[in-house]
Symmetry: D2
Subunit: 352 residues, 4 copies
Amino acid sequence: MLIVMTKGSPEKDLEDILEKLTQMGFTGHVSKGVERTVIGVVGRTYPELKDMMEMWSGVSEVVLISKPYKLSSREFQPQDTRIRVGDLTIGGEEIVVMAGPCAVESEEQVLQTARAVKAAGANILRGGAFKPSSSPYTFRGLGEDGLKILALASQETGMPVITEVMTPQDVELVSRYADILQVGTRNMQNFILLDEVGKAQKPVMLKRGMSATIEEWLLSAEYILAQGNRQLLLCERGIRTFETYTRNTMDISAIPIIQKLSHLPIIADPSHGTGRWHLVAPLALASVAAGADGLMIEVHPNPESALKDGAQSLTFENFERLMEQVVAVALSMGRKMAGSAKGEAKEVAKGN
Amino acid sequence: MLIVMTKGSPEKDLEDILEKLTQMGFTGHVSKGVERTVIGVVGRTYPELKDMMEMWSGVSEVVLISKPYKLSSREFQPQDTRIRVGDLTIGGEEIVVMAGPCAVESEEQVLQTARAVKAAGANILRGGAFKPSSSPYTFRGLGEDGLKILALASQETGMPVITEVMTPQDVELVSRYADILQVGTRNMQNFILLDEVGKAQKPVMLKRGMSATIEEWLLSAEYILAQGNRQLLLCERGIRTFETYTRNTMDISAIPIIQKLSHLPIIADPSHGTGRWHLVAPLALASVAAGADGLMIEVHPNPESALKDGAQSLTFENFERLMEQVVAVALSMGRKMAGSAKGEAKEVAKGN
Amino acid sequence: MLIVMTKGSPEKDLEDILEKLTQMGFTGHVSKGVERTVIGVVGRTYPELKDMMEMWSGVSEVVLISKPYKLSSREFQPQDTRIRVGDLTIGGEEIVVMAGPCAVESEEQVLQTARAVKAAGANILRGGAFKPSSSPYTFRGLGEDGLKILALASQETGMPVITEVMTPQDVELVSRYADILQVGTRNMQNFILLDEVGKAQKPVMLKRGMSATIEEWLLSAEYILAQGNRQLLLCERGIRTFETYTRNTMDISAIPIIQKLSHLPIIADPSHGTGRWHLVAPLALASVAAGADGLMIEVHPNPESALKDGAQSLTFENFERLMEQVVAVALSMGRKMAGSAKGEAKEVAKGN
Amino acid sequence: MLIVMTKGSPEKDLEDILEKLTQMGFTGHVSKGVERTVIGVVGRTYPELKDMMEMWSGVSEVVLISKPYKLSSREFQPQDTRIRVGDLTIGGEEIVVMAGPCAVESEEQVLQTARAVKAAGANILRGGAFKPSSSPYTFRGLGEDGLKILALASQETGMPVITEVMTPQDVELVSRYADILQVGTRNMQNFILLDEVGKAQKPVMLKRGMSATIEEWLLSAEYILAQGNRQLLLCERGIRTFETYTRNTMDISAIPIIQKLSHLPIIADPSHGTGRWHLVAPLALASVAAGADGLMIEVHPNPESALKDGAQSLTFENFERLMEQVVAVALSMGRKMAGSAKGEAKEVAKGN
């Protein structure tokens, strides 16, 4: 952190600032240039300091040099984080695919979908038992019954399960059934929940807040990492802009940016990222081409009657077609799909 | 809700849709125009239906006519909601002022501030005991100790207290000390928390999410109202835009819009709305001129060394000056300040 | 401008940078701190340099300290710019009101409106002869015929005229009829047009681009000032955000920000800023309370049948009511309305 | 267009509306439903009508059903537009690559770059002779001298040239030297310029405005098409959001959306779309995977000393590497690169 003094500010200001820095536990190192005096601040700084220090007498500008996040940064850990879930490794050379319905509606719906997506090459089953919804009058999920259905489908297909946890009290419950805990976009800055999943013994996937900067997202990741849970995945799912044709604008650039700034795996969710099923395939392929470590795709046996987010869900047939394209693009990028036991999966599916 | 059919769609599509509507518990009424057939849908609809129905065969467009929120709407309750807190009435002709430090730091800091803001004409004491912060490495509040300090200051000055509750587990605890529970911007869509404060016996102030549309905000209000708690205030605190000079862009138009769409009182928070102390006064005055029912202002004995949000906090002197201007603008608008016992307040202050 | 070197960067990098700076006509002054080496760059710098310099080997960060605009800044000219138009002074203690129809439709429409707004206290007549429109299939204005109608109305009422010029070729033509040239939001970065109005002998009002930062706006002002035209007004007219209830989100904070950063007068346009007539009055009052030097308001004899922007136009009656409130708020702020010859204006109106 | 009447609105309102519609040249068809009366409006409608009609007495809501653009829509022309430029076809199965420096700086710089990008497989030479710049104090291009240099490089390498035209007066001049006229992001709504390039005999590439919705973009396209010029390409180049890491957020979803709504070819510009050279390759590949018909890439012999946009320019080496990846991804998508005479190009390059 650098404090740039205003031209011609009195010596007294400089002295006062150095004293304040000491009181706050920082060390200040003064460099007097021809036009400007600059104070280098050493210590664990954070973004809010900038605003405060810019109020100090004699200060022209405060510059944050070191990034405010640490554990999630490439500087802290140069090599990629790899997360083991069952036989899968997320964050390596292989691309993982998470697929399933937006919301768990019934055992049949989930089992049917699980078999279909596995047959098409998916590695992880997604499905919501606790559903955030902007309106209190809509379906809010089956709760623990939904978790049980997911566990059943996991057992049958051998796919691990990822599902959302919405509140600190539920972390233990959801951990009992799920292989990966998902923190949703509306909870990216639910700090108490972040603390709690940070203490869980399960991998966590943290979705980007719909109006969060990348820096804020990495700071939220920091909450989880700081509690000791290093099995963390990030998920880009679209941000809010002025465009109204799509529900969100998917920020594909976030994929290479995260990979540059952080060692954490990055998953792309084109279903929420666009909100429209006919955009899911092109954005899924774009995500793979941009280097994503995985995809999360909503699939439903009958999107037209889905209780939740049917408009962004693929049919089994569309998902199967997409997977073929994903494989092709992945290969062209020199990457391969996780669990290439795709043929085997197909047999399982046929057996049902 | 209206379903507009595509030109020349087959009769079969129309029949299928009417059947689906019946299955979903809605009634469909068909109007055949010269160019278009339109189905009027009667029943409790919600925004997500639009996306789903637009996937149905033969559908060109779905139009939401009735608003998705109900209890918070002017249609449901034409007259303004008035909330009693101690001797105050929020939401009537009088303008209330909530003031105090961003975060509770110490007994002395809070008491000193409480006396000063009361002397200047504030009606309600604000202060955070649980502080959301984008970084895990910054001050997160004193917790229950902070609540105790607020209660003490309330007792001494006679001002009711408003403070934030961040998680469902804490609703009971915070309710024991506070007169108004605040739900912060990052929790506007923390639906479990909304449910919980909806069950509390205390008034609630719901801040607008930093990227929430006004409709989403009213839907979040609906969660609280639907649980039976009708003592609800809304608070505009700035939204996220591309502008970087301010921390947020305060949406002053939200004030008259809320008053048109809803019966709930609307408070303006220019401290968070701008993030810069020198903008707090002009935006506070603008809020009053636009018709706000109250203001929430951050005041600190020494903003330059505040543990939190010093950059947007007013000194005692600046707050006093602002209050004089607020009174003048309020009068010019034909409104008066709550608890005009300002002289009395001054004596209390002098006594200390 | 400061170049902050990365920790431990080789001496060779520093030497190379100093040489490059010299070649580019800048001078570099090196300050070696304990942790970081910082180079102060002296010379006329500009924002794009930052991106380029951050590519240089050994550079960690580049910090722009001096603002990229100069002639529009308070540093360059501490006292407010005051612009004389006829008997009016814009930018002083008085608040000016520009009012009239969005588009010139007919002589009768303009004359009728001009008389009504003058009677209600407006000082300047607005009206568009050249109308930008998102669609090529809508009304694009009467062109020179429209300018003639405005001139006629100006002659009859004694009010100066402000009207938009859309393209460099038309600057001379519009200057013949108008007293103030308006550059619209879509042309804020039409640099050739900015050059051209910068050469004109008429005052110019530059509207903020709908997605322009305040810094970019001041840089566009710089184009006009740099050509020698110092009679420049700025106009806030709403920015684009994710909110869909309003056409734009009016950034009221831009008013005090411009007044802090620049000496140029700032006008508020709540008609375009909201796009809805029932929000015009509250936002107009908010603008005055925030310190605006003037208002621009769309008024139409019959908004329901206006060829352009009827939804945001006030009727004569609504405008008259608004003016009464504006006067009250202005007084409460210690300001007065321009041309307080309001009584006189009323007589003129009665005479017609 | 549908006008939805409010429940219980008087018959008189309906009659008045029908009369107004007739006066405006529309026909109104009334459908009386159980709850609502709906008027279908037939005629050439446009978005602004909605706002106006919603002011009419008795109107609850106005719904735009037909899109406001026509000539650019798939409905108007189902098959893809293909544009011939020399031997190239843009908009077919082949992917075209436009590459070159941001700004023309010197003959040597352009020739060197032209040879290098051609050798690497580019098809069209880009380069700016007239440069829009946010600040009047920066490089604004070489003007006609720059056009001459581009023409020279075109002659030598056989590549057609695309370059920006900034103002109506220059359309003829630029047309003399360029093969494709580019309308930049800041001029997307410079309607006079759109008219003028619509009259030109050259293909035009229209960049998306940095805060334009897709609908507005297509409406701007309509201006050009309506003047008779059907040789039109669209270019996505990033939109403005709250994210600050990138200069813009590239809206990859715009690629498949344009292809769904319109028959016009869509080009992606990841250089401006991100503003950072290390993001250009991943976003270029993402664009191809999302289905783009072409890429526009900034390449510079020495980005570190470019007069303009060096931070987003690729070196020759990085561009060559990118092209190899682009070919691989294109093939995986079943598409091929335009002018596969890549070997031949390499020989030309070697010859120099």
